[in-house]
């Protein structure tokens, strides 16, 4: 699915990613966790091509992603943490725009004659969330008139719409009410069952508990732990993921102290 080897990125003197190796297992939800500034966002943005890594390699389905490659992103759905859209467009226009960009313009054409060919576009487009979130009454309004939570729902619809093989969800339930958050989590589980692969970042531990199959723990741009959630629990001798991750974070502090001592000696 997605393989990352030796990924490095510096911003000025600061090494944000110090050689990240990672292989996602297909059909699973991989949670990327770590303290603030650990490089989670830079890692995600490198996969999306938003940030240009300095070194290392990213392979999607065995094919290396190079700077300037664009087509591979058709297989990735991205739900950013903050959803800000052109404020004068309606949600309907926004969805049409992204569909258009994804070369799904023909689907919109099909939707024109949806009465003649009901269901046909569903093969290509996944509009289930549109329905589950009951977004229909909001589709015609300008996006600036929508609440933050509603915009976040539109954001989620866009990520799932094109049935991508890999979905990257950055703090997906931030700003969603519990009902909507539950709908989104159900959707993640359903799509995982359908074989899709997920990268998830979240600070909400219950969410990780519920969704994460694998955990990648990043500290200062390096992978400190990568493996199934159960193994993390076993290794840290905890029963809850929250405790286990907290345990990892505390270990980090210890490790740093050791480093400091080592350097001083």
């Amino acid at each position: 699915m997605l393989e990352i080897t030796g990924l490095t990125k510096r911003f000025g003197a600061h090494a944000v990613l110090g050689g990240v190796d990672l292989a996602l297992r297909p059909g699973r939800v991989t949670a990327i966790v770590g303290p603030n500034g650990a490089g989670k966002t830079t890692l995600i943005k490198s996969v999306l091509g938003l940030t240009r890594p300095d070194g290392g390699e990213i392979r999607l389905d065995g094919v290396a992603v190079r700077a300037g490659d664009d087509a591979y992103r058709a297989r990735i759905g991205y739900m950013p943490q903050v959803a800000r859209f052109p404020e004068n467009l309606s949600a309907r226009e926004l969805i049409a725009m992204i569909a258009d960009l994804r070369g799904m313009g023909a689907v919109r054409g099909l939707a024109d004659g949806a009465a003649d060919a009901p269901g046909a576009p569903d093969d290509l487009l996944d509009v289930e969330l549109l329905d589950r979130f009951a977004l229909q009454p909001h589709l015609g309004k300008p996006l600036r008139a929508l609440s933050g939570g509603t915009r976040q729902k539109v954001n989620a619809v866009l990520a799932f719409l094109f049935r991508p093989a890999l979905l990257i969800l950055d703090e997906p339930t931030a700003g969603l009410d519990p009902v909507s958050s539950g709908i989104l989590k159900d959707k993640v589980l359903a799509e995982r069952a359908a074989g899709r692969t997920f990268i998830l970042t979240s600070h909400i531990m219950s969410e990780l508990e519920e969704l994460a199959d694998d955990v990648v723990f990043l500290v200062e741009g390096r992978v400190r732990f990568a493996g199934p959630a159960e193994e993390l629990l076993r290794r840290t001798r905890q029963t809850r993921l929250e405790r286990a991750i907290a345990r990892l974070m505390l270990d980090r502090v210890d490790a740093r102290d050791d480093d400091a001592n080592g350097a001083a000696a």
């Binding site: 940030t51 664009d70 994804r102 549109l130």
Partner: protein
């Protein structure tokens, strides 16, 4: 399944009678245009030129005089608005730009679409705002007025393209909104005010030497001055600029001079666009 119908109804404003464009540039541009065209500040910008032109034609005493005043308004307002709107717009669109970049679209095409998506509506609002009052007041009895008005339109559109491109270059290279805006306003002050002061100083210092050609070169190096010279030499008052003015008038009214001026303006568009695009291609979002 009915939800797909949602994409069907009410998209009239998105659809044009033309066939859907194939290039990602045109696809993005289409939506950028409909977004910008509906914004209130664009309406305000068009209304400003409409009211200013109308007032100058009504109270400014006839066509040529009104045109001359209008030249000064245009050379003042277009660079300022292009720079300020341009940096603010691109910074405000940062998150959505990331959403678009996460789609299978090339950065170069996206940059071009963003630039055209702002420059075209701004240029259109300017052109419409100036043209309408002339349409109902008439051009007066000066036969050269139409040519001058067309030059004004051309210079205004070109300056819009130049300053939106410069604004995008600034915005792409600065992640801090306030800093970007500061650089934009600073550039406007430098090109609009400081530059002329320095040129005047130079002229005064070397008054005894034949400096028409160096000054001419300096005029070409500032898009606002270039626009001003192009426009002022269209008026009889160009003679008021004295000997230097006469040299300029002779230069810019000849075919060669016009070609040089047009090339210089084209470079002023192409170079900032190319630099902005390059920075956009390399940027870490």
């Amino acid at each position: 399944m009915t939800p797909t119908l949602a994409l069907d109804t009410g998209t009239g404003s998105v659809r044009s009678p033309l066939p859907a464009p194939r290039s990602p540039l045109l696809k993005v541009l289409r939506y950028e245009l409909s977004n910008v065209a509906r914004s209130r500040w664009l309406l305000g910008y068009a209304a400003f030129f409409l009211l200013a032109t109308d007032a100058l034609l009504r109270f400014g005493g006839g066509g040529p005089k009104a045109l001359l005043s209008l030249v000064n308004v245009v050379l003042f307002v277009i660079p300022l608005v292009g720079l300020v709107f341009g940096t603010t717009y691109l910074h405000a669109a940062r998150e959505f730009t990331e959403v678009l970049l996460a789609q299978p679209v090339s950065r170069g095409q996206l940059f071009a679409a963003l630039w055209l998506g702002l420059a075209l509506p701004l240029a259109g609002a300017f052109a419409l705002g100036v043209a309408l009052p002339f349409a109902w007041h008439g051009l007066g009895d000066d036969p050269a007025a139409l040519a001058t008005l067309l030059t004004l339109g051309g210079v205004g559109v070109a300056l819009t393209a130049v300053f939106v491109a410069l604004a995008f270059l600034i915005a792409v290279r600065s992640d801090d909104r306030v800093k970007g805006l500061g650089v934009a306003v600073g550039l406007w002050l430098a090109l609009g005010l400081l530059y002329d002061g320095l040129v005047l100083l130079l002229v005064a210092m070397f008054a005894d030497y034949p400096i028409e050609r160096p000054v001419l070169a300096l005029m070409l190096a500032n898009p606002i001055d270039l626009g001003r010279v192009l426009l002022l030499t269209r008026f009889d008052s160009g003679a008021l600029l004295g000997y230097t003015g006469a040299v300029f008038a002779r230069f810019f009214q000849g075919a060669g001079g016009t070609a040089v001026a047009a090339t210089a303006l084209a470079l002023w568009i192409a170079v900032p666009v190319a630099l902005g695009r390059r920075a956009f291609l390399r940027k870490d979002f």
